[in-house]
């Protein structure tokens, strides 16, 4: 099929209470209600979740893959940003 008449939706499933919704995939649906129904059938049929979010793919703002260098790789040279550089005082039991 070369053309789709139905919009694309991104599906997020919360695996259990207390955990965050995680992106699991995408699907085609005519509207929000159908998207949640289809997500239930496609992505939770083996007890994967307790809650579903469906979001129109076009409503998601994302970073540009071409800008990955300036966006993310500069952090790799700044180990001092990690909490591991704090020294735990002697005598403190963690």
């Amino acid at each position: 099929m070369s053309t789709y008449t139905e919009p694309l939706w991104e599906v997020f499933v919360r695996p259990a209470r207390g955990l965050s919704h995680m992106h699991v995939g995408s699907l085609r649906a005519s509207d929000a209600e159908m998207a949640v129904l289809s997500a239930r059938d496609l992505y939770t049929r083996r007890s994967e979740g307790v809650s579903i979010w469906a979001v129109r793919s076009t409503d998601i703002a994302s970073s540009d893959p071409a800008e990955r260098g300036e966006f993310f790789e500069t952090a790799a040279t700044k180990p001092y940003r990690h909490a591991s550089h704090y020294h735990v005082p002697d005598g403190l039991n963690l």
Binding site: A29, M34, D41
Partner: protein, 260 residues
């Protein structure tokens, strides 16, 4: 399983009753399986097959129970694959060919409404076999109903073609629904001693919800009436049932007892 259930005063009537509904589920599931790789899109391919598999699951539970209660040593496989056409007691609507997607949605609306009402009534039964099965099955059928009615609303309010196909679908299914309202001596006898729910009430609740659903879709169809004469429950099936059974049973018949 011990032989105790077969000595109950309601036997063999309750086992025959369970077999009817086991056959409904088995045949409905098998028919829906024909949508594999043929649905309008992959989302509905999976959804329809989930519904089919739920029904095969219902059939497995009920057929196993029937096999245990009748005490003739027949397994679920023997009952599913070893019986001939006239020995199946499913109502005809369950074996009805799928037609197009519109007709399948129409069929699913009618059947899911029926099953939600029937299994809901089973769940409230004092008979443990019915209560245990009914509560689990009713919950599954409530989802089938949500799926079917959600699609029905979109077809009815979609394009002129989708609305026409849904309407034709209901018209094709309609003549076969009245059989579910038949109350024969088997049902009356079991209901009189309180083993099964009152089917007149189940039928009335079902038709009331069905007519309301149709009204919401902007459709009107004649009032359903129980047909006279033998139907699927008496082993009198539609011509198309032969090929459904042949496809379902040929492997087991060609290789009895095969495992993989």
């Amino acid at each position: 399983m011990n032989a105790a259930p077969t000595t109950l005063p309601t036997e063999p009537a309750l086992t025959s009753y369970l077999l009817r509904h086991a056959d409904d589920s088995l045949v409905h599931g098998q028919r829906l399986c024909e949508w594999v790789a043929r649905a309008p899109r992959i989302e509905d391919d999976v959804a329809l097959l989930n519904i089919a598999l739920d029904h095969i699951g219902h059939a497995r539970t009920l057929l196993t129970t029937v096999g245990e209660r009748e005490g003739r040593g027949r397994s679920e496989d023997d009952l599913a694959f070893g019986r001939s056409e006239m020995e199946f007691s499913n109502a005809r609507v369950f074996e009805l060919p799928n037609g197009d997607f519109g007709q399948t949605v129409a069929k699913l609306v009618c059947i899911a409404l029926w099953e939600t009402e029937l299994f809901g009534a089973w769940a409230a039964s004092d008979e443990a076999v019915l209560a245990e099965f009914g509560s689990g099955a009713e919950r599954e059928c409530r989802y089938h109903l949500k799926y079917a009615t959600t699609w029905a609303a979109r077809l009815a309010g979609g394009t002129q073609e989708s609305a026409e196909r849904l309407e034709k679908g209901f018209a094709a299914v309609w003549p076969h629904l009245g059989e579910l309202l038949v109350i024969d001596s088997l049902v009356t006898d079991l209901a009189d001693v309180g083993v099964i729910p009152d089917h007149a009430r189940v039928g009335a609740a079902w038709t009331a919800r069905l007519y309301a659903e149709l009204a919401g879709l902007g459709l009107a169809l004649p009032e359903l009436v129980a047909p006279a004469g033998p139907q699927g429950r008496q082993g009198n099936h539609l011509e198309s049932f032969t090929s459904l059974l042949a496809e379902m049973q040929y492997l087991h018949r060609a290789h009895p007892g095969a495992t993989w």
